[in-house]
Symmetry: C2
Subunit: 340 residues, 2 copies
């Protein structure tokens, strides 16, 4: 750059850098910085990356931007990244492990210093890929059977427990569960928490009370709920593995001519935006999306800095139950076959 200040490039480099500017006479530092300012000098990121082996860049992989839970997570990540001069690439798994793997390879080729992966499957080749390439990796919201991975997640079991307790308090006993695909950790964990919590209350969950949706989506939820309603004419409440599935439940319910919450209470998971505006505002388990993003970025940055991949961390965040209008006490409709 400013070599018409007739000084050497290395002096300039040193003057501009925070750490090494101390070696340079304050006077020169000032002159260089002023000149840089004036002529709008910007460090060439490619050259820096090539020389230093760090791009100050990370990759984020999410299933799908259209799922409203991810924007806040992303913002959380970026808010801390910004503070450290990092920038993020965004890629999508489309809920498909193969796609995720390909995307991670692309990101690695881009030279990212680390990866935040919010789409892991219970067994996922991405974690081995990152491990073998020495790329720091943190998992958000999903967990992997392999173990030994940095993770930021919410206490799903607690969330489900809160949902079940809420329903129990309202008097419901015949409670169903629409699970997500079992190769996704949250689906699995939430389902297990459901049966376990029920058991703690001496309530056995019969198999027909559980239906697995083939995806964590509205359409899959509708389909699964139809099946459920067909085989559970007596159920009075349902817990859905996430909000999108819960929406599908609403649709199926309507097709069966059932009303919510009168005939059937529904609780979701995630607390997606705008739920308050809905015709039947959904009771759901709220998770701190933004904070999850923040924590995962902090964790990743720590790993990148430390190069200390010996010990892994697991950050566990607490969910909250948001009670709205899709759940109601069991009374009227169940008088006849009251089970308490």
């Amino acid at each position: 750059m400013a070599e018409h200040l007739n000084i050497n490039t290395s002096t300039v480099s040193r003057a501009l850098s925070e750490k090494s500017s101390e070696m340079i006479s304050p006077d020169v530092v000032k002159r260089v910085r002023k000149a840089a300012q004036e002529m709008g000098y910007k460090q060439n990121a490619a050259a820096y990356a090539l020389k230093m082996g760090s791009t100050k860049t990370i990759g984020m992989i999410i299933p799908d931007l259209m799922n409203p839970v991810f924007p806040p997570i992303i913002r959380g990540i970026q808010s801390v990244l910004d503070q450290y001069g990092y920038t993020a690439f965004l890629a999508y798994s489309e809920n498909n492990e193969g796609t995720a793997h390909t995307e991670v390879e692309r990101l690695i080729s881009r030279g990212v210093d680390g990866i935040i992966y919010a789409a892991a499957f219970r067994t996922d080749s991405v974690v081995d890929l990152c491990k073998s390439q020495g790329i720091p990796l943190v998992l958000v919201n999903r967990v992997v059977d392999q173990g030994d991975v940095d993770t930021v997640k919410v206490d799903d079991s607690l969330g489900i427990k809160m949902a079940v307790d809420h329903l129990l308090d309202l008097g419901h006993r015949k409670i169903g569960f629409i699970a997500g695909p079992k190769n996704i950790s949250v689906s699995y964990i939430r389902l297990r928490a459901f049966t376990r919590t029920m058991a703690e209350h001496d309530l056995e969950v019969e198999p027909h009370r559980i239906v697995e949706a083939h995806a964590l989506s509205e359409a899959a939820g509708e389909q699964a709920m139809s099946v459920f309603l067909g085989q559970n004419p007596d159920a009075t409440a349902i817990i859905a593995s996430n909000d999108l599935i819960a929406l599908g439940c609403f649709t199926a319910l309507k097709q069966f001519g059932y009303t919510c919450p009168k005939r059937m209470s529904i609780v979701g998971f995630n607390n997606m935006p705008y739920l308050d505006w809905f015709a039947t505002p959904l009771t759901t388990v709220s998770i701190p999306h933004f904070q999850m993003g923040e924590r995962s970025a902090e964790l990743l940055l720590k790993r990148i800095k430390a190069d200390n991949v010996d010990y892994n961390e697991e950050v566990l965040l607490k969910p909250k139950l948001v009670i709205r209008k899709s759940t109601a006490p069991l009374i009227a409709s169940k008088k006849k076959s009251g089970s308490t």
Copy 2:
């Protein structure tokens, strides 16, 4: 890389590149590519960028990821970027020109080959910045007074015209408009289209029928709508500059004890997701978000390739009116003071 094939790096480079692999004997090409595959060789993006002066990277600037209209735009952009081996950085303006400027500088320092800017103000220093730095720029959804910029936008005037015509068809005459900040092009254009369309029907819009919200947000909409209702007890319909403002209108309406659509019809703009689920599903102007993203990426890539910045293009997309339940014929409530 594979120099234990004891061949020169340049041969490897040529063999791997699509264009120059023709100069190399097919046999060698095959061997090199196979080796690359096996050892998982990935081109170093930083070195490529430094040598070639192109990062195969672009920047996207949007106001805010939380606004649900942007995710589909982003996906549209990325879907075409992917096809050409480009990757995008995402940055936020927070609806603030200064922030946008800073972010653009950061992106330029990252070496992006071009920028897609979905947050322009009517006069915006970002376009001069890009122009002076020779960085291709395309504007999405917003327009700039400067002219001479590649743009992808929807026909806002047509959208508003459809909204007005719809209301008129329903018998409404006392129609109000909640505008957005006038330094944002869409606000300005939509407001102008409103008064103009009304005029075309020989309906004069008195000043008190128009209130400007200080942002394109729910809170600002609520505030503006309160003002509006205070000074327009006789209005029967309102057009909001976007859906978020329309939501704010709902809230204000409720505070005044008014119902929608019975007492007041409301139409929004954007057709954000999940509107069908709302207690009062909002009638709104739908715009092709995903397609806008695609077109803007195509346009940008074309500019990057061509280096031909002499002529600018303007892509104009058509909106569509989606009629839901927030608009209803003017009858019952207006019998007394019927104005037709």
